[in-house]
């Protein structure tokens, strides 16, 4: 593969990019040991704060730090303006799509999306068919994964419309940079991100069911301290000043949701839930779920509580639906997509499957409902045996997979053993949708694959993070 585009150094042989002028000058002037010292300080601070995540299937240390790289990823305000418009357009389309799929299903009638993609999708929740959530918003919090392959080439890789995580790292990484490199941050004119939690609170408040209460009670629902993202759940609850509840802290009576407090039951109006649909209510979904709240769905359908995100958003963000997003955007907005999709082969279609099977060594193959970097094949990095094994899985259940070309993801200089080396990065900006519109925080979470050449950036697969600067005066 040719040398990929580098966020700081551009194409191989080019002069460093303007956006990085300040950072580059600082890096050039800083002695190597200073970078190492700062890196060690960052790790110490993260550990003291307890900013950890839990790794599933890791019996050893259940709390781990996500590696943090001190070299920021910089985006110019001009580039950001383009990204932001694209994100707003995309998330508006996702909300329109969900309202339609759980309502009149115009898009299916128009033949834009094959019907079985919806009807056979386990994420299409029949229980909420015909229900319009409070204020009509389905996806209150979206994390749209972007990748870059050239100066002006941004692609959407995934729409995360269920319970996207990582925003706490966006915020904590900035705090860390402000602490370690205050002057550099100031000199670079970095757009602040710290208003995210206020905007999230505003968003949640705006979708509270109408009622006599002056102030709605908002809670964050977590699966508990053993969940991989528990730190984030507690972080967000704390920053918003709302209770962090587990399923057992809530109960439903007469289709109203209450939390158990030391002063008796207290009515709850909005639940920012960080548990999947399947675990929300054992009466409707998985009966073995101890994480959820019996009766919650009935209360939701009665319009007495808002869930963020709404029930059933998974139908819109799986990777098979993803491949139709350009058509979806055109259908609802009449506009051309601002952010492009990565070309995608749907293995459910025979000719696509045949192509994919023939080209496995050069493709990335993903489960349509997978996440976290689990269960995917990265062709160029796979062994012959892994490819053969995957081909068998594909033939057995082709509808479960999509394939994409292996993109030459951009790289960003990253500290490794005291030296800067290029590592592949992606970007997850966070998009909030309330009754009063869409808000995007400038920046997002940059994830970095720490293994040389690796394209898998997920923290569960050993990826790290960087602070993301939208920079320019």
């Amino acid at each position: 593969m040719a040398t990929p585009f580098d966020e700081m150094n551009g194409w191989s042989g080019e002069a460093p990019r303007e956006a990085y002028a300040q950072v580059k000058a600082w890096l050039d002037a800083a002695p190597g040991e200073l970078l190492q010292t700062r890196r060690a300080q960052a790790e110490l601070l993260f550990r003291r704060t307890g900013i950890t995540f839990n790794v599933y299937g890791d019996p050893g240390g259940s709390e781990r730090l996500i590696p943090f790289d001190i070299v920021p990823r910089v985006i110019t305000t001009k580039e950001w303006a383009h990204i932001e418009r694209g994100l707003v357009q995309r998330v508006e389309a996702l909300n329109s799509l969900l309202a339609d799929l759980y309502g009149a299903q115009e898009i299916l009638k128009a033949g834009i999306i094959p019907e079985e993609l919806v009807t056979l999708n386990p994420q299409h929740q029949l229980a909420v068919m015909g229900h319009q959530p409070s204020k009509g918003v389905f996806v209150h919090v979206a994390g749209v994964d972007l990748v870059r392959t050239g100066p002006d080439d941004f692609y959407v890789l995934e729409d995360n419309a269920r319970t996207p995580s990582g925003v706490s790292y966006m915020l904590e990484n900035r705090e860390m940079m402000l602490r370690l490199f205050p002057e550099l941050v100031a000199r670079s004119g970095v757009a602040p991100v710290e208003t995210y939690t206020d905007m999230l609170l505003e968003t949640l408040r705006s979708v509270a069911p109408s009622g006599p209460e002056r102030e709605p009670t908002i809670v964050v629902l977590t699966p508990g301290p053993f969940n991989s993202a528990f730190y984030e759940h507690s972080f967000l609850a704390d920053k918003m000043g709302v209770e962090l509840v587990e399923g057992a802290d809530l109960f439903v009576r007469d289709n109203l949701v209450y939390m158990r407090t030391t002063e008796g039951p207290k009515r709850v109006h909005v639940i920012y839930r960080r548990i999947d649909d399947a675990f929300l209510d054992p009466l409707f979904f998985r009966p073995d779920s101890t994480l959820g709240v019996p009766g919650l769905l009935a209360a939701y359908l009665a319009g007495n509580v808002a869930l963020a995100n709404a029930v059933g958003t998974g139908v819109a963000d799986d990777k098979a639906m993803y491949s139709y997003m350009p058509e979806v955007i055109r259908f609802y907005s009449g506009q051309e997509p601002i952010l492009a999709n990565v070309p995608t082969w749907r293995c459910r279609e025979d000719d696509h499957l045949a192509y994919v099977l023939d080209h496995l060594p050069e493709l990335v193959v993903k489960e349509v409902d997978g996440s976290g970097g689990y269960g995917m094949l990265v062709g160029p990095h796979a062994t012959k045996a892994q490819i053969d094994e995957f081909a068998a899985k594909l033939r057995a259940a082709p509808q479960g997979f999509i394939a994409q070309p292996t993109l030459a993801l951009s790289t960003c200089p990253t500290l490794h053993d005291g030296k800067l080396e290029p590592r592949h990065v992606d970007l997850r900006p966070f998009v909030l949708t309330g009754a009063d519109g869409v808000r995007v925080t400038p920046g997002g979470l940059t994830r970095v694959a720490l293994t040389p050449g690796s394209l898998v950036v997920n923290s569960s697969q050993g990826g790290g993070t960087k602070d993301t600067w939208v920079s320019g005066f």
Partner: protein
Amino acid sequence: MLSRTAANLYWTGRYIERADFLARLLEATGRLSALPSTYGGDPTAWGGALAAAGVDDIYNGLHDEISEAAVVSFLTMSPDNPSSVRGCVERARSNARAVRTGLTREAWESLNSAWHEVLRLQALDASKTEIREFTEAVQRAVATFDGAAQRTMLRDDAFWFLQLGAAVERADNTARLLDVKYHLLLPRDEPVGGSLDYFQWSTILRTVSALTAYRWVYRDAVKPWLVADLLIFNDRMPRSLTCCYDTIVELLDYLASGSGRRGPAHRQAAQVQLGLREGDVKAIFSSGLHEFVEQFIVDNNKLGLAIAEQFAF
């Protein structure tokens, strides 16, 4: 406040307090056992420490004899002992971690650091770890946590439940210490020129960090009935039973100030407080110090249950 959050904070307070008590107990016992027996050195001191920590049954089930090394290891780090210092700090932290939102960042970080410090000390060779270094590190960590909580937490339910757990635990610790040592405090004919028991009494005072306080309060040589008076009735001595119950009643009043609701915990605490306010050392010695302390421990446990009932833990 969520009942679960309240319960987690209450137990965070209790475990931190217990860790602190254990650290003092280890330090004071170490001093006592190091004395030659002609100066009151007590070869059974470590057995007494196990009893005061309330873990003598577990220890005896696992060990044939009581040795300093075995008891120190058991009280500090042993995985066999759920109430080891390590166990207490770990549980304080896991309770706090479940309710991160109930604590300020400063308070949480100090507790998290304490946990990492305990892990660091544990990783050192246990036989070489100076017991003193360990106990001081724990006491310092607890003080840092208390300071962070005092300075940064809102004065609301979260703070009060944390303090409530600490006060209930503190009362229990002082009472258990008295329970183990009561026979030393009984009045009897004193030989002129001081007693070998002086070191036993001063050990008791050290365990609750009250040796200096004793001198300020009584301006007298250490006398057993005054030690009992200080630990039970002196309302200015933070680890005395009376002071603990004054604190408990005050905290329960704060907790009721929002809703105006009072319950079984209020009644139980007020009853115990009244008994302490009306009692004195003479009466207790005539009716039996041991019986008094045993009854107090039972009553204090009842309060724990009443708190759990009233706040739906």
